[in-house]
Amino acid sequence: MKKALNVLIFTGLFGLIGCQQENSINIQQAPLKVSFSHTASNKVLELGKPLLNPFGEVYTINSFSYYISHFSLITVQGSEVELPVSYFLISEKQPVSKKINFDAPAGNYKAIRLMIGVDSTRNVSGVQSGALDPVNGMFWTWNTGYIFAKLEGKSPASIAPMQNVTYHIGGFSSPYNAIRMVELPLPEVLKLRAGGQANLSVEANVDAWFNSKNPIRITQEAFCMNPGTLALKISENYANMFTVLKVNN
């Protein structure tokens, strides 16, 4: 009988180990919704409407989209909780893309971290699906790699054909690595609870593309379609485009 008990315990343990992956998700998960809004010239972005960039250059935007991925949350104690890797393509043209949902461990958080762009692994491991499907047009076909962020429009200040303004930003390898990790402080503590309905409102301000760390004037730089110094500069700029406006717990 004792032996049998031993065997039971042993096999039970084995069972636990064998199924570890399924049993390890004990921490309660809570849903988190993040809603993005886009602004330019201190107004809600409207495609095709005239705008002024921080240098007073008139322009319009026809297309504005970017990849975000690799989310993590910073607890009020300051430790980082990495969330399972997922990729989102946020596009002004697709209102539904501007609201994203995922599950995160319940807890109290003071900041959110995310990657603007696509990690180098996904840039070198062949064809991907979902948000990363090249069919979404955020992929350089002749120089393999994702376009991390795209801003297309027109401006009388542009010397490019059709007065186009074309900023396709990407590049995942040194010295032109345009992948940006950003940390966004939350205006109040995010309290994630199982069964809750927490929501973060995040604003992306297009003005940052032109004048944040590096001044980018349409007159001088109307197009960027390669990984390189300019892409790097613009990525350093848009790394500052996000602000968390509101936390709804």
């Binding site: 049998a4 065997v7 393999t144």
Partner: protein, 350 residues
């Protein structure tokens, strides 16, 4: 004791059942008769392991057959006239026979000569400038280039989805009728991975199944003495590096090669070292097809190298070659033609 054993057995059975139930989700899937038939990838004797990651795209009979249909299908191009095979012809080892620059939709030229497609499982980068880093994304470039197949991925999916035959083939190969970039590209890779050229006379000689005649063996000796094999490394006859072989930049093309990808001036005018396998059937030569004749290529290395800041040190001062040596070299290069490959019915139009 007997009683104990019975209890023990019962416990064992119950606990194993419990494990079986608990772990059901992670259990091994049963193989059903409709599953695609796996195809092993054969590495020729003496060759290194392939670079392609087959676990991400296991070869199957159905996947390869689907890839073959796609490779030869004009629907992948805007006007239906330009399947992959329009520039990659089997008779020329999947290069373009007798054309310098490839041409595509609406009578447009590209700026380069279509490279031969062979032994792709061992290739680390694709295109003359190495801009493509994975076989599975390579076809997207010619399909979407406005001067090649000029089609969008969306339209390719729409067009293929209208065909009942494709729905059936995608179902058989990937278990779903739904076509998306990923399974289209993976099927094409499966077919292209089958383009293995390893049955030339040179290969037979290496395996002790044939012998070179005198000019061939002299040519092989000269090939090594003149250090052609510094770049054209056996068994692939390329080291896959990017080099400037002293070809002047053509002002009409302004093609800086590898520099377009790296943005670095030290890569100006560098192009990937092409394989010499099937070189005699894949003329014209060089990245833009500017040299039509193999003897003229050898003469380029003899007297034609243009010295520039990035010209490769190995060819900067030319490679002196007499007419006799050129003749023997060409005899050797002829042994790299793989008739079995260029006539392989499994690679031909379905």
């Amino acid at each position: 004791m007997k009683n104990n054993r019975t209890i023990l057995s019962a416990f064992l059975i119950i606990s194993f059942l419990w494990i079986a139930v608990a772990c059901q989700k992670t259990g091994i899937q049963e193989v059903s008769p409709t599953d695609p038939v796996p195809v092993p990838f054969t590495v020729p004797a003496g060759w290194p392991a392939p670079l392609y990651n087959f676990t991400g795209n296991p070869l199957t009979m159905q996947g390869i057959e689907l890839g073959r249909k796609l490779f030869y299908d004009g629907r992948l191009s805007k006007d239906g006239n330009f399947p992959c095979a329009s520039c990659h012809q089997q008779v020329a080892a999947f290069a373009t026979f007798d054309h310098d620059l490839s041409h595509g939709f609406n009578n447009q030229f590209t700026t380069r000569n279509a490279p031969a497609l062979q032994n792709l499982a061992w290739q680390s980068t694709f295109h003359h400038d190495g801009g493509i880093n994975h076989l599975d994304v390579q076809p997207i470039a010619p399909i979407t280039a406005p001067n090649e197949m000029a089609e969008s991925l969306q339209n390719v999916i729409v067009k293929l989805s209208m065909e009942a035959s494709y729905k059936k083939m995608f179902l058989e190969a990937f278990g779903t009728e739904q076509m998306k970039t990923e399974n289209i590209m993976k099927a094409m890779s499966q077919f292209m991975l089958m383009m293995v050229s390893s049955s030339s006379k040179y290969d037979e000689v290496q395996r002790g199944k044939a012998t070179f005649n005198l000019p061939e063996s002299l040519g092989y000796k000269i090939f090594k003495e003149k250090k052609c094999n510094s770049c054209h490394v056996e068994p692939f006859f390329t080291d896959q590096s990017f080099r400037n072989t002293g070809l002047a930049m053509l002002p009409i093309l302004v093609d800086r090669g590898r520099m377009r990808i790296t943005g670095n001036a030290i890569d100006s005018l560098k192009f990937k070292v092409p394989s010499l396998r099937n070189v005699m059937v894949s003329y014209p030569y060089m990245h833009d097809g500017r040299i039509r004749d193999i003897f003229a290529v050898l003469e380029h290395y003899n007297t034609g190298v243009v010295k520039g800041p990035t010209t490769d040190p190995l060819v900067k001062n030319g490679i002196p070659l007499s007419n006799f040596e050129k003749g023997q070299l060409v005899a050797f290069l002829n042994t790299l033609t793989d008739q079995a490959f260029i006539n392989n019915q499994q690679l031909a139009q379905p």
